[in-house]
Point group: C2
């Protein structure tokens, strides 16, 4: 098979950088790679797949020369580039929330609902970085014992906001340690040595958009439109790695041992659950790893049919770039790329 | 009324220091103040109520000369000093978990169950720093609409561990910023730029002792032995201030507006809930304040009879020292000090 020509929109950002690293790690069958970003980065040199490449403008011409476009640059860019790329015959894997709830756009975690790719119309969405690890855990459990309700509270790292937020946490932490004056920019309040119960804008129902994404996206990915789920999403002063405290009520009782066994048998999930030796998932251990790490699995003391657990995952990888590449791999395997289809 | 002679055991620690500050702020009617700590601090000078005092050994003689003993130095010290102080005729307010679940020891948040002080036998326990703010919120709501189930996930600051842990977070944060090697001492893993789903030891049921304290203590304080409650307790890299994501299922439906009204009318609780202007409780704002701050109050989207909310409180104050002083004030007001009783 000839390599797949790829354009990365947002190549200089936190997710774009990780995307290029993972492409190389997984030996993704790439042909040409084109790197795009906003005007201030045009001409900047980046290394991708061992080659030095210049950052370019995402022109219709460029989009017509690639098979796959990975967009990781915010919803506004996706809304502009997505349809344009499809028009030029490329297939789009979009990290943003722009198309996720569009009924014509599959929202995919390949291990969970890879079959949904068959219905794509040129654009495939990557779920939110907090939703992806959650559905990785819910899917295999729901298959065995229907999930009735999920309550999840998150501990999300600043890399979910982007590279500038990582800089802000770094600089602000130093300033707080030196008792210097700080000026929040990326967040409405100080993030160093603080936690913010606020990720994205607020809806009229009092939930944030991030929290409602977890509700809507989980239902769509699991094909469970009536799943009862509530979330509180919280930003914590961690660089990379999102964690979640998850409380699941099942239709029937299930033991922690059964849950541990099911999750141990699930590709992409690693159980790290040995409290006696202080082993449980943590963001610093998840960073740079592909799997969703799950531990603290226990019978919920407030519900005999409930299980409480804790998970951590690299939000830039399974929560974004890795999942995007896995979608691309699955599109290739299933021969679902628009341009390849046309060549046939 | 003559001043009350007080001994503070653990006067050099994080809670002890705050205790002395609050005594002064609240103009607590003190007579002599005696400061005690471990041997390495004997002779050390501290300022308390504007006077320079030497740290002493907590001898039976010293305990016989005070009316009230505030113990904030770990369970082992409480088990030793508590009964000894009572034997010497002093009344003990104990911050540790040593006696909390003892049926002969009241576990008190004065605004919630001050009447339980009437049954004390010399020792009164201060609840865990995560439990105190939670019961402050649950009590007034439960009085109006019975609480059926609570799920709470915490975001606890390192000051809950003590002064050494605060130093560790400070030093470790600097080391991580400089990419220096770090060596965890107070925690089993790095705490800077990380979160640990692990506070205190693990029980056989997979919950930590901190999590089970929240279950047991909440039931005892609310006099609701069958309350269904589950917690995941997590240490976050914050200096002072514990936060909690709380999900409450009620017997009957209740609106966020009603909840906001009830909590606004509750002494010791301040509602900070205006998402439109980015106003919600945060640990950096709770630090140094007496109240429990509650916000993000919303109808739970997973349960029409549920309410989700978020709270933050100064764990050294309402979670420990302040609550201890409020207990002492209440003991004085109700004339329940052992030695005062004898004098009568």
């Amino acid at each position: 098979m000839a390599g797949c020509n790829i354009a990365v929109i947002g190549a200089t950002g936190a997710v774009g950088t990780v995307f290029l690293n993972i492409l190389e790690d997984r030996a993704f069958p790439t042909g040409d790679i084109r790197l795009c970003a906003s005007e201030r980065s045009w001409g900047k040199k980046l290394i991708a797949m061992g080659k030095e490449l210049s950052v370019e403008e995402a022109t219709p011409m460029l989009l017509s020369e690639v098979d796959l476009v990975f967009v990781c640059a915010g919803s506004d860019i996706s809304l502009e580039i997505g349809p344009l790329a499809v028009e030029q015959g490329a297939t789009v894997v979009d990290k943003s929330s722009a198309f996720r709830m569009d009924p014509n756009v599959p929202l995919v975690v390949p291990e969970v609902n890879g079959d949904d790719l068959e219905q794509h119309n040129g654009i495939v969405s990557v779920p939110n970085c907090s939703t992806a690890p959650l559905v990785m855990v819910l899917k295999p459990l729901n298959a065995v014992n229907p999930v009735e309700r999920v309550i999840v509270d998150t501990y999300q790292s600043v890399s979910g906001t982007g590279a500038a937020a990582m800089d802000e946490l770094r600089v602000q932490s130093g300033q707080v340690l030196e008792s210097s004056r700080i000026t929040p920019k990326e967040y409405p309040h100080q993030i160093a040595f603080n936690v913010l119960p606020h990720i994205e804008s607020f809806h009229d129902n009092g939930y944030t958009n991030e929290e409602m994404k977890m509700v809507w996206e989980t239902r769509k990915i699991l094909h469970e439109p009536n799943l009862q789920i509530s979330a509180t999403c919280v930003r914590v002063p961690v660089m990379v790695g999102h964690s979640e405290a998850v409380h699941i009520d099942f239709e029937e009782s299930i033991s922690p041992g059964e849950v541990r066994q099911i999750l141990s048998d699930t590709p992409g999930v690693t159980v790290v659950d040995d409290p006696a030796t202080n082993k449980y998932p943590m963001p610093i251990d998840a960073e740079g790893q592909d799997d969703v790490f799950v531990g603290r699995i226990r019978q919920d003391v407030s519900n005999p049919k409930g299980i409480a657990m804790w998970l951590a995952t690299d939000n830039l990888r399974k929560g974004a770039a890795l999942n995007g590449i896995q979608i691309a791999e699955e599109l290739l395997r299933r021969e679902l790329l628009l341009r390849t289809a046309r060549r046939n």
